[in-house]
């Protein structure tokens, strides 16, 4: 059965729709509650893990870009591992940005509607209409900036999604019906090819998380247990780096072969 990833421009709406879709379909809901388990497994402070889902690295927050990236990689690896089980509605874990190229994953974007959101801000924060508009624009800009920093893709680009629902036109009950109805389409059903793609993506993410423990700037691809790691190093460090990567990557379950491509790190030299 398909996997449904729901994201929205307003967190509360995203949570509410995802919960209703999961209930309607009898699927498990995977959301930020999973972060506590991930934090324990990877020995990361749970609060910090929650924080990285919405913030970019900053000296003020004592979070280096390397730590931030490594923590995101741990979340990505665990989320992908859970998705292999199928029958899941996923929300709040940025999966819409890294679970790509899988035909049985339906990526849904909910647009909460500008007027509704601004009205909410005015009511909740007691701001003037003008200030609420600015506040909303800043929030959208922040999310766009985060998605670009974390996964080099713009979450506000609607062409990324399989289904986009505007709550200004479709009410939440209709939205849930639309999503569950679309999930029944044959095109979103599991097939051998899509399961293999998901397994490859999950394995690459596991290796990536493992390697980011000890080195920055790597790119990992996987296919049928064979893993290709692309990295940069000074010429004199190439051999050592290749050996380290092969040793570390081989410890990941499911890896049968590791190939390392090292590009010359001109900047470091």
């Amino acid at each position: 059965m398909p996997i449904i990833i729901i994201s929205a421009d307003v967190r509360e709406i995203e949570e509410s729709i995802a919960q209703k879709v999961a209930d309607e379909m009898g699927y498990n809901l995977m959301n930020r509650r999973i972060l506590a388990d991930i934090a324990a497994k990877h020995q990361i402070d749970p609060g910090r893990l929650n924080e990285i889902m919405g913030t970019t690295p900053s000296l003020f927050k004592k979070m280096s870009a390397r730590q931030w990236r490594r923590n995101l990689a741990c979340v990505e690896a665990e989320v992908l591992d859970h998705l292999l089980a199928g029958n899941i509605v996923c929300q709040g874990l940025a999966a819409h940005l890294y679970v790509t190229g899988i035909s049985h994953v339906m990526n849904v974007r909910i647009l909460s509607g500008n007027s509704r959101c601004i009205k909410d801000i005015v009511e909740k924060k007691g701001l003037s209409l003008q200030k609420a508009e600015k506040c909303r624009a800043a929030e959208l800009q922040h999310r766009k900036k985060w998605s670009l920093a974390a996964y080099v893709c713009d979450e506000t680009d609607l062409s990324r999604y399989d289904l986009v629902i505007n709550l200004d036109q479709i009410d939440p009950v209709e939205a849930v019906k639309t999503i569950t109805g679309a999930a029944e389409y044959r095109k979103f059903q599991v097939m051998t090819y899509s399961m293999k793609c998901l397994a490859d993506l999950a394995l690459a993410a596991k290796v990536n998380a493992k390697l980011l423990d000890s080195m920055p700037s790597i790119k990992v691809q996987a296919r049928d247990g064979s893993v290709v790691v692309i990295t940069k190093a000074l010429n004199r460090q190439k051999r050592k780096k290749i050996a380290t990567i092969k040793e570390l990557a081989s410890t990941v379950d499911g890896v049968s072969y590791v190939e390392v491509h090292v590009k010359n790190n001109i900047l470091a030299s």
């Binding site: 035909s103 044959r186 095109k187 059903q189 097939m191 051998t192 090819y193």
Partner: protein, 132 residues
Amino acid sequence: MANQPLKIMLIDDENIVGKRLKPALEKTGDIVETFEEGKKALARFDETPFDIVVTDIRMENIDGIEILEQVLAKSGRTKVIIITGYATVEIAREALSKGAFDFIAKPFKPADLRGIIQRASKELRSGFLHTT
């Protein structure tokens, strides 16, 4: 009926694919016919329907999606399995939407295809196989 061999049609313009897969699929006692041209395969299908059609997508004259559509128009109960070296999400979704039973990217192990055929066979066995 339950023990009757399956009739499998294998279409791929690369001769090596048929040569490699035919013996692997015949191991289970099923009857396998291979074709390198889609048109000839469809003409053969008109003479006698098959339980399972395994077809490549990218072929000259007629592509795998067209074969899928024509086969299902002739025999709704035939299971069509798509194999391709040019798999994309879009093509995979199109194939499934148009009624493909499964979709697998090349290269694959013959055992992978046998696994899919086994699943197709289970569904078919609940009905009747095509008689020779």
